[in-house]
Amino acid sequence: MAEIQLKSLAHSYEKSPTGAHDYALREMNHVWDQGGAYALLGPSGCGKSTLLNIISGLLTPSEGEVLFDGVVVNHLPPQQRNIAQVFQFPVIYDSMTVFDNLAFPLRNMKIAEAKVMSKVHEIAEILELHSVLNKKAKNLSADEKQKVSMGRGLVRDDVSAILFDEPLTVIDPQLKWKLRRKLKQIHEQFNLTMIYVTHDQLEASTFAEKIAVMYGGQIVQFGTPRELFENPNHTFVGYFIGSPGMNLLEVQTTANGVSFDGIEIELSDARKAMLAKVPSKNIKIGIRPEFVHVWDKPSENGYECEVQHVEDLGTYKILTMKLGQQIIKARLDEDHAVPQQKAYISFPEQWLKIYVDEYLIGEELV
């Protein structure tokens, strides 16, 4: 099957890279277990497509090794790696029918026509394409075409991993749902390793069991959607995951805890002691908008904020407030009372994260 391992893997498009900035992928060690559903999540330019192409064999890494089940495959082309790849825009053979498109990989491997027929019908059934099997592929809608692309990967018995490069980009939002569901069902049914590249955290979270968040050519955190959400390791993860992202405030240490713009936030003794030992001046606190407590009346330990903006997003609202000179966002449920001009907020300590030099510290103390 396919356990995919990356050993000291790095990649530069330059012939003689001089510094970190010349690397599209910085040195990484990583294992993708067999049968897992993974997402590579990150903003454009973070290196996720490069990594995907290295795994699939469309790109040879300039340094390090890629191993499939313990065997180094760096120089093996995609055909020999037992993988299938689905691209951003549907890649189909225009001149063939849907049936022939799905049969294509099998026929190339000279498989008996009877087996081809049964396999194609089986996959077409799963992907709900059986009604269009005899239509010319180029007349299908975008989502049907993507399903055909996926289908070509699924018909092959020897495929142990499927890689997806932002496959839902051209699909209408109403249909993205159906395809995501389909992908998840396929994963449960086929026990394949699936790696999904995207810049959309919702897509990544709904598809993957574990997400590798990439930033600047590195995997910054690898965890379940819940872990990434509740315990972001790095300020970038806090910022990128969640809509809107984590509130991040630059602070200085004080006797009672931390402060910014003259506003003091108390911390537990354990945390204060930990911060006292930290030499760096780059200290930030972070709290997700979902965890900020908001009242519309003054409260004992609440900080008074000025309400700047209320965004009504149907199922929830986003409240943008000003505390001192900083902007704080909070996410309110649909039926939560909305403060008008002044709001009173507090930061529950268990959700207040401390970041030193962008990395999370002191989790064990909470």
Binding site: S44, D312, E334
Partner: protein, 362 residues
Amino acid sequence: MSLKLENVDQVVNGQNHLTNVNLTLEPGSFNVLLGRTGAGKTSLMRLMAGLDKPTNGKIIMNGANVTGITVQKRNVSMVYQQFINYSNLTVRENIASPLRLAKASEAEINKRVMETADMLRITEFLHRYPLELSGGQQQRTAMARALVKDASLILFDEPLVNLDYKLREELRFELRELFKARNAIAVYATTEPNEALALGGTTTLLHEGRVIQSGPSAAVYREPVDVYAADLFSEPPINLIPGNVTDNEVTFDESVHFPLHQDLKSLTPGGYKFGIRPSHIGLVPDNDDDLELSMKVELAEISGSETFLHVKNDHFNLVMQLSGVHAYRSDATINIYLPVHKLFVFTLDGKMIQSPTRLIRG
């Protein structure tokens, strides 16, 4: 400046691209055109810009009939889905180009270019050429060029679709802020309901070339005028269940029966379509009179802060949007609760006759 479309039709090669469109856009307003691919959003914007002529109807800007007038004469700018820039000019020159055409002073050009570049966060790329930049950066250049001109009508045709979602979130907010201060009319086409809500302003729903509803975004969301509007303007899609009302009970899809709830008493007996938003169905009863249904879990899609649960019974499927993580295995059987007061009721031909009543818990 105001914009009005009166009885506009557009027929191209025998196909109706737009039918009977009547719209009034107020000065300084931010208008979202929400519809599926092919609904007519681009056609409509091209008519507003003057790139095409309507087959019938009038387009009126500031009281004057501009229907036949070419785009060069109307003070319009447009941002496209594909990043369109002058590839032989630097980013700075690209942004400056409309100002140069308008013969602005060098100082003025400098100031406006820097302002706009700052706002779209491309200041560090000013000296580079568009083809050297990433897709997102190219699109921001195109947007800067459109915004620097200070046109009275600015059209955006799904401009953020090719940008990563974080950038999209941030640019959306900045766009709104930007337009608060201007008197220009902004028209923004999108296929995503969440984007329409986030942008605020007014939303116009387009379906197969017709305007089915138009109004302040949150209001259109809460009170869809018919089934198409409800379906268009919700993500995940609104759950629809065919049902029947008699004098004393309600039946869903001829299978599930409930005693007639007081909120539904005003309905005359007959067939209806019931709608309920995914976020309004719960795993625990919120009210005594919630409808209890036994369903099988098809799939649980878990994101960090919420779970989308796909459930079904032998007759219909539902999608639920729950906060927090709820990891159910497929085929698990669970009970779900539908608050009756949050049901939408549509007639069989789709008109909305009842919408959720008590929304704030009270």
